[in-house]
Subunit: 278 residues, 3 copies
């Protein structure tokens, strides 16, 4: 096995693969990043070598991952489809496969994790975030759509009915402390302590006999992950809703204001989706 990718920097140390997403300032889940994540997850299934734990973070200080590349939905979907069997061509099914990978995955989040970027974090086994700057959000409802890659399934189960509805239909930003209070993430930690905390935890788990770790993860997954049919259904709902005229109008309006470019609109996207038509 080898863990070398154009858009993911990796370092293997004591059974821990530190994987840093490095696909531009927004770390958009587009063709490059999805292709490399699919490749990484494929290797974790087929030939993990010494890897027991993966720590996923971002090379961009302001964005864990802004969201999917909305200009290339068919293209990144085609990359995601390479992860699955026939008929399972969606980012959601790929992230579902990531959630079941037989090593432990930890998302270490600084900056914004919105839309598909949040769903990438939710597919990991744990999420630790920097209190000062991490932001979580599913902004899709603000543009006429719904999260299509796991956001509905994870948040409904984790946050409970009223908080999940709030998170999904408010389309708003949730800072790390509120995300912790809502059960969206494991914990918010001071930015200065985040690296040390996650590294210690990852190396600790990597040092345990693997059979118990794997059995525990599998048992929790069996109790908390959705059926594949629900994952497929959400992916189709996203695909259908995002194509409606009103959704295209909203996304076009956001594009005119700077969507997918580093700048104020992406920085405050939760606020921005609430400002239409102005």
């Amino acid at each position: 096995m080898s863990f070398t990718y154009p858009s993911i920097r990796t370092r293997l140390e004591n059974g821990v693969l530190f994987a840093t997403l490095d696909a531009g300032p927004l770390n958009l889940l587009g063709v490059d990043l999805v292709r490399d994540l699919v490749s990484l997850v494929d290797t974790l299934y087929s030939d993990p070598g010494d890897v027991r734990v993966v720590v996923l973070d971002s090379a961009s200080p302001e964005y864990f991952s802004a969201h999917v590349d909305l200009t290339a939905v068919p293209e990144y979907t085609a990359e995601a489809a390479k992860a699955g069997g026939p008929g399972d061509g969606s980012l959601g099914m790929f992230l579902y496969k990531l959630a079941r990978v037989p090593v432990i995955t930890i998302a270490k989040v600084r900056g914004r994790a919105r839309g598909g970027g949040d769903e990438l974090a939710l597919a990991c086994d744990m999420i630790f975030a920097a209190r000062e700057n991490a932001v979580f959000g599913q902004f899709e409802a603000g543009t006429g759509s719904v999260p299509g890659a796991g956001g509905i399934q994870h948040l409904a189960r984790r946050l409970g009915r009223t908080r999940a509805i709030e998170a999904l239909v408010s389309a708003d930003d949730f800072d790390a402390d509120l995300a912790e209070r809502y059960g969206w993430i494991n914990r918010a930690l001071p930015d200065a302590e985040l690296d040390g905390f996650v590294e210690r935890l990852a190396k600790r788990i990597a040092g345990f006999p693997p059979q118990g770790v794997r059995a525990a993860k599998r048992a929790v997954n069996d109790l908390t992950l959705p059926e594949p049919a629900a994952v497929r259904s959400d992916a189709m709902a996203f695909r259908d809703l995002v194509a409606l005229p009103e959704s295209r109008e909203r996304l076009g309006h956001l594009a005119d204001r700077g969507l997918q470019s580093p700048g104020d609109l992406e920085r405050d996207l939760g606020e921005a989706v609430g400002q239409y038509p102005h």
Copy 2:
């Protein structure tokens, strides 16, 4: 459509229907309020007009809604039955219908929300409460009965096993901060900020394309609401238990001390149910 009711004051603004329960100082869920709520929900299903979001609050500063009118259970049940199909004549089935209404509902809670009043809040899509004065409680176990209109189903799913059992069998009052920590409500906010927060959120959601908002709510409901059979079963358990001699004795004792009148006993009902026979 028209939103005019004897016991609910309404105001429609930017797609948000502000609906203020105004059925006396305790806002008891009796014949008047249930009749008008049934009528409101019926219109939200059949002819919502511009309404995208409903904000439910109370005209009484001390009571969101004290509980059902225990002197008129058959009468308000008959009103609730008008909401449903044959055989579904219960407050629980009506609140279940409210939980599935295809607009977003937000309970803005000041003062006490106990028993059926709490279940009314739980049937809404979000609950925001004033930190200084909101109180939540299901006092039924203190009088020999159980919540019959959704309290068991919502709390067991939202709070988890041990906290739900505590809430239900302690029959005690939970202030807004504790209710937030337990996941009973979305958030406790300072009283002075509550109106502004809820109004901004409601108008924001009302401004989104409706298809995504509705799809997200429906998806979360499908994952978090009970089957109708469980709702019916709880309604029957309440009806049967409240009729037992020991329950009638406890309720009679509370009636002698001021139940259903504005005053100390209603104000501190959580404490009062623990004081028997004294």
Copy 3:
């Protein structure tokens, strides 16, 4: 009925049975304690007398219960088997029976509740813990195994996917405040207030008519407890994993360093399982 046991001190007062585990400084779940707990639960089912609520605490200030007696797994399992039907010979099935007992049970936790000791607390209907000294942990993954007596089932449902995976695969200690934030326990309270709080709550519930209390507990159990098959499956996973060479090596290493003796290793067991081979 009589509530007299070699390793559990009891006192009955106003319908509340105060049951204090007194099986040595670590309160190991070994032959003595399991035998007496089985006997106590059996009486609570068959002949509870005036008992409406049981408060479970420990005579040892540092340990609610350290864990099972790892030198006597077949022996305490044989005692646990006396609680159940044929084929249900496991601590997990006994604790499952405890979770369904038709009186209310409250765990009042000071000191460490790890492994089976934590699972004993999780099987109770409520858990209140001393903020200054209570510690919760499932250390099994650190020794190659998994919790076999309910830890997986309870934590996956209560904490949600990512926090449950963290709790189980980190094998780490969680103090009372963090356990409250994660929904592992009902509440952390100041040590000085814990006794008074639990006694008031227990006597309050014991004074209510029993039918509503029992119906509420049963309803929540039906919604939140696993199927017996899952309980059996976890018990078998524990039994199989703990017998693997790598697990035996880790447990042997811990035994050499002081496992099952009062002292530093047991005190800091969460830390200790992360230190191997050193």
